[in-house]
């Protein structure tokens, strides 16, 4: 149901490394689960609208009022790497 290439593509989208020794087992597990959830293909859903949100929230907007921001050291405290008051990361390629 899901082959290695598809699995690698999905893992790439999800930025999840899959090591060589994990590929076959993962593809098998996913295929089993997808096979099960494919049951929904049996249903006649003609004319049934999708539900993306439960319940009615009419007034969900926020007034444009400033609230205090975090102190910078608090914002940076949990970061794995910082430099010059910012979050340090390897550079994206091609930039």
């Amino acid at each position: 149901m899901i082959d290695r290439d598809e699995l690698l593509h999905v893992a790439r989208l999800a930025r999840l490394a899959l090591h060589e020794d994990e590929l076959d087992a993962t593809a098998g597990e996913l295929s089993t689960i997808l096979g099960h959830v494919a049951a929904i293909e049996e249903l006649d859903l003609e004319g049934v609208e999708p539900t993306a949100h439960i319940g009615d929230v009419s007034d969900s907007l926020r007034a444009d009022h400033v609230r205090p921001s975090l102190a910078r050291d608090v914002a940076l405290a949990p970061a794995p790497a910082i430099r010059d008051d910012g979050f340090l990361v390897p550079s994206p390629q091609g930039e």
Partner: protein, 477 residues
Amino acid sequence: MAGGDLEPVIGLEIHVQLRTATKMFCGCALGFGEPPNTRTCPVCLGLPGALPVANAEAIHYGLMIGMALDSELAPVSTFHRKNYFYPDLPKGYQISQFDLPLCSGGKLGEVNIHRVHLEEDAAKLNHAGASGRIEGADSSIVDFNRGGTPLAEIVTEPELRSAEQVGEWLRLLRTTLRTLGVSDVNMEEGSLRCDANISLRPVGTDQLGTKTELKNMNSFRFIERGIRAEVERQRAIIEAGETVTQETLHFDPKSESITSLRSKEEAHDYRYFPEPDLPPVVITEEMLARAAASLPELPAAREQRYIETLSLSPETARVFAWRAELADYFDAVCAADQSLDPHVAANWVTELQGRLGDEEAEDSKVTAAALAQLAAMVVSSQVNQGGAKQVLDQLVAAGGEPASIVADQGLEAVGGADELAPIVAAALEANPELTERLRSGDMKPIGVIVGEVMKQTRGRADGKEVTALVRKQLGLS
């Protein structure tokens, strides 16, 4: 495809930072130029457990933009998640709009609008050079101050045909947005950013060529130059019988070169789905009424008003109306002296702007009151055109009041026939040969006589009046 003329097909995607007090989905104040990472909170840092709440004012601004662009406004608008990984995107997705944008369709000037939607801006990535952490590797530093700034993304139909048209239309868009007061629309500071989709096709067909996307051009000049360069690049490829590759490109204004942004072509799959954290936004009658009441006079209406009630020429009306700063200045000149003929005021504003180039009149040393005074002095023949232009040069250079400049420098017009007649007579007497030719009907030398009079009056005489006096004294009509 190589035969026949090729025409560019250009569509624009414009990202406009909205001038709200707070970010799109959190209460952080917008941050421009503050020290890095001082305008963040759990929401805009994408901390675990944090949730977005949409800014009502951003929706309001979005509705104003939609109304100004004649768009259809959605009765219910939803947010979607656009999923991809990048260090400037803290949640791994951008909250944007997908199938139910706030505004659909519309028109500005001659260009049709495809849609306008709201989304959040990315954070800022700064290059950090080689990292100390990992030997030899390049690093970046992320500053989340900008992350979450509300953006309106305006997408045009692919209807623009030239770099010049793009430049002119973008100025109209900028004027419209500035007039609305929804954005600073400053390209250099990044509050207005433009991407262009460009392809070529044989003239007269509606064939779709392969398009490229020119990203992140940050000035009107670069946009025009970038588009021109890309059109020429594609033309060369097609005329050489080769095919254009679909890719994202960067225009380097320094070298005028175009480079591909992504070395390895990766198909994007953004996995859009409805943002479960944000209920659909219901656009109420109250919201529409408030947006409508907030609309100022827009360029198109102003253009119409200039033509219909001030009877400016269509060209002048458009030039002023599409450049709000200029039109505001023109309005101020008219207001400073209400007896002034708007035509005269318009001529002097045009004269001034010609001397200023890119600088805005309102930022120059010439106040609207000064320009109005100068124009009025010309109308009442206190100073002639030539003298007035000298005054204007001085105003541009150093400011001041026209009346006192005229007085200080003795630029008053030489008043009437009584004062001029002897000077004309003297000039004719001093040039008997030319006077003879004039008398015999050869009018060519009249310019020399007028020039002589002007020289004697140091330009303060009125040329027409001098000509009339010459003819009169020679009995020519």
